[in-house]
């Protein structure tokens, strides 16, 4: 057991002790960052976090796919039309018919 005067000294020291930690200016941002990091644990959170990038990528992919589908359909139609014109004229052209006739 400490002597009484030592206890008094400790008490005084403790009573006069003040802690003045420097304020951390990044405290709030760090808290929000932790919250955001946690929210990325879900797919919706991941998408929210990368909304701009994925929006641009999805937009480009959809426009490209739509254009490609349209172009392929047009090319097929043109090809069928060309063949139809050839066959159509073949039926009207005596020169072709004369070649075919035995």
């Amino acid at each position: 057991m400490n002597p009484p005067d030592l206890n008094d000294s400790l008490s005084r020291t403790l009573a006069s002790w003040r802690v003045n930690p420097p304020a951390n200016p990044n405290f709030r941002p760090m808290v929000w960052q932790r919250i955001r990091n946690h929210s990325r644990d879900t797919w919706a959170g991941y998408l929210r976090a990368h909304l701009l990038g994925w929006s641009v990528a999805a937009g480009l992919a959809i426009v490209t796919a739509g254009w490609a589908g349209h172009s392929v359909a047009r090319a097929q139609l043109e090809s069928s039309r060309e063949q139809m014109v050839v066959n159509y004229l073949g039926n009207l052209d005596p020169r072709v018919m004369a070649k075919l006739r035995p």
Partner: protein
Amino acid sequence: MKYLISTLALVAVVAAAVGYMAFRTSGDTAVQQALAKGDAMEWLRTDFRLTDAQFAAIKKLHDSYSVVCEEHCRDIQTATRTRNALKAAPGSDPAALAAAERRVAELRVVCESAIASHVRQCAAHMSPEAGERYLALVLPKIKDFDHLAPPDVQLNRQHRH
């Protein structure tokens, strides 16, 4: 990483669906069906948006042209046989062979003029825009007739050959 792959897959699926829809919905379904069936008259009706009156007039033109077509066909065949016979005969008269060649060439020119005139008459029954498009499709091929494939489409009329 798993969300990156999932999102990539989702975007790919959506883009593929959009591409397929664009493929299916591009163009005129009626024209595509006529082309798939190989029905030339239906193709004309749908692709050039013919009214019933226009369609009937063009069909009548085609029907009456088939008589002319038959005549020309017969003439070309006769001239070609004559020329071939002269070519095959040993010691045939070169002047006669040249005349036979000229006759075949002349008949071909006559045919080309006749069919060009016929399609122009058909185009005259269409709307100006459709007629122009129709002529742009058929006239170059009339000039290039040697490249024409044997006909295998239905003109919905009796071809008298």
